[in-house]
């Protein structure tokens, strides 16, 4: 169902949502960077950016989160389960590539055993996305089954048109929210949405890449050449909307403590280091191979979803310009 909302009404819509008790996570500009923050006032929101530094994945997969806590008493130990009690949250102003990112992310966290923490958080989250009217040379959503106006994953998708927004209400949750503040919305005008969207060039066919990769695991020369300049930091993984690698840590306080899950990266040498000292991915080239293979071969094979939404953040964040789109097209 499509509607129209003016800029002023959108501001009111968000202010009402906040007033009525939901939290809003939205892009805020600081210096040359824009990133998601919990906002106090709607005026803080900025939509001028092409891409925020980080994705909004922390809403469902925080960089550090408690899984359970424990207490030791003489001869006994008690475990206290932890369920995230997240307030209803509206993520506003994410781009379609980020909204789409929750599908691969959710597939990983529900692959085998459904992950309670991820799912509880996702259940409390409403995504109001904004289509892209501009892009840069790092964007490649159109090469990975996406587009600047893709509705996948969003509850509501807003596309900037003239003085306001075309509002596509995609899910029941989106409908519930817009119905609640129905007087702020108007009938949708007859327009061609495509005309208002950024033109993101298609760089490759992702199915062909998946096919090609399936035979390249043992091509050591290729991976060595590709990864030569990679410094092995975790910047790409941490800004990625779909990277889900985590580490389990213990916040031990003697007789009590907490078990934590925190972000990790397959690019780190420590990630696969065994207690024995053996490391199955002992070189950066093996770790780079894993990054590409996981997103473009293993995930399509096992979870029927590409592990990349073409947001381009990894390429922008990379200290040495490991441009992923370029790397894929030159395989």
């Amino acid at each position: 169902m499509n509607k129209y909302i003016s800029k002023q009404s959108l501001t009111n819509f968000l202010a009402k949502i906040k007033e009525d008790g939901k939290r809003i996570f939205a892009p805020v500009a600081k210096g040359s960077k824009t990133d998601f923050e919990w906002i106090e006032s709607v005026n803080e929101i900025s939509l001028e950016h092409i891409q925020t530094t980080q994705s909004a994945k922390s809403i469902t997969f925080p960089r550090t989160e408690k899984l359970f806590s424990y207490k030791k008493t003489e001869g006994d130990i008690t475990l206290q389960d932890y369920t995230p009690n997240q307030l209803e949250t509206v993520v506003f102003g994410i781009h379609p590539c980020d909204a789409a990112g929750f599908r691969p992310l959710g597939s990983i966290f529900n692959w085998d055993t459904p992950d309670k923490h991820y799912n509880e958080r996702k259940k409390q989250t409403i995504l109001i996305s904004v289509s892209c009217t501009q892009c840069d040379e790092y964007c490649f959503c159109t090469s990975v089954n996406g587009s600047p106006g893709n509705t996948e994953g969003s509850d509501i998708l807003l596309t900037p048109i003239k003085e306001g927004y075309l509002a596509e209400i995609i899910t029941d949750r989106g409908k519930e929210l817009t119905d609640q503040y129905g007087n702020l919305f108007e009938p949708a005008p007859e327009i061609d949405k495509e005309e208002y969207l950024a033109k993101v060039p298609v760089h490759f066919n992702v199915n062909e890449i998946t096919e090609k990769l399936s035979g390249l695991f043992n091509n050591e020369e290729l991976w060595k050449k590709q990864s030569e300049r990679c410094l092995g930091c975790g910047a790409c993984a941490f800004v990625c909307p779909t990277c889900a690698c985590f580490d389990i840590q213990e916040n031990d306080k003697g007789n009590s403590g907490e078990r934590l899950r925190c972000w990790d990266s397959c690019g780190f040498s420590l990630f696969t280091l065994h207690t024995s000292g053996h490391n199955p991915r002992s070189t950066q080239s093996q770790r780079w191979r894993q990054r590409l293979m996981h997103k473009f071969s293993y995930m399509p094979d096992r979870l029927s979803v590409v592990g990349c939404t073409g947001c381009g953040r990894c390429s922008r964040a990379c200290p040495v310009d490991m441009n992923i789109c370029e790397q894929l097209t030159t395989i």
Partner: protein, 259 residues
């Protein structure tokens, strides 16, 4: 023009090197590039737009281990190279070093001489921000760094991009005992940065790579600058000529800065 591509090619033609570490055109600005034969030198460039400190690759054994290496070295990279020699990480006979003018610097002495004759590339932005933070009250400064460092998600790009961070096992990865809690949180992030900059005392070249690569834009180079300034003030002069501030102890060392 330094004709870096031709110079690298000549080294390959004479069979003197196995790999040349330089720069090539990148997506927005030049990026590190590695030539492993004469043909691959075509794409090499080296000019003022080439940022990123290539000295970081000289200690990467999987890349250069046992090889004869040519390198295009910026002013800051040369400071790092001189320091790496001092720390016994490099061998003179395996290295062919070219400065931005295209001149080959054949020994540590030649590097030092070039550095002493060439003005330190000034960065007014760094000094301005540094002075601004120095002028803050202790409370303001605490708030500034608490806010900035709470953004850190511990990707360790700062460590990866630094030529002086070449330990095979970093202090943050030691877990028996665990000195620093490895997950991201404001206090842990601060501990990590304090450790990082203390290890840089008297060793940092001031290249700024640590903050240039920080994906969330924390100005952590100001911390290393602060430690550098403290080193200069308390131990003075050519820091690279004396022992490392962190590892050299003399009974008459001043301790006034500790408290």
């Amino acid at each position: 023009m330094n004709n870096i591509a031709e110079k690298a090619k000549a080294l390959f033609d004479r069979n003197e090197i196995d790999i040349f570490i330089g720069y090539e055109k990148g997506t927005r600005s030049p990026r590190p590039s590695f030539a492993s034969n004469a043909e691959e030198t075509n794409r090499l460039i080296f000019d003022e737009t080439c940022s990123g400190n290539l000295a970081v690759y000289l200690t990467r054994k999987d890349l250069v281990g046992g090889k004869k290496v040519g390198i295009a070295a910026s002013y800051h990279a040369l400071i790092n190279i001189a320091q790496l020699f001092k720390e016994n990480q490099l061998k003179e006979e395996n290295l062919y070093i070219f400065n931005i003018a295209g001149k080959q610097l054949a020994s540590v002495e030649e590097i030092r001489q070039y550095l002493s004759e060439t003005p330190f590339p000034s960065n007014p932005g760094v000094i301005e921000l540094y002075n601004k933070i120095e002028a803050m009250s202790r409370e303001e400064r605490w708030k500034f760094w608490s806010d900035e460092l709470s953004k850190c998600f511990k990707c360790y790009a700062c460590r990866s991009a630094c030529p002086m961070c070449y330990c095979t096992q970093c202090i943050v990865e030691v877990n028996r005992p665990q000195w620093i809690q490895p997950w991201a949180s404001p206090l842990n992030n601060m501990e990590w940065q304090i450790n990082r900059v203390m290890h840089m005392s008297g060793r940092c070249s001031g290249c700024g790579a640590c903050s240039a690569v920080c994906p969330v834009g924390i100005p952590i180079h100001l911390l290393t600058h602060k430690v550098w300034a403290a080193s200069m003030e308390h131990f003075g002069g050519e820091v690279t000529d004396k022992g490392s501030t962190l590892s050299t102890f003399k009974p008459d060392d001043k301790e006034s800065f500790i408290l």
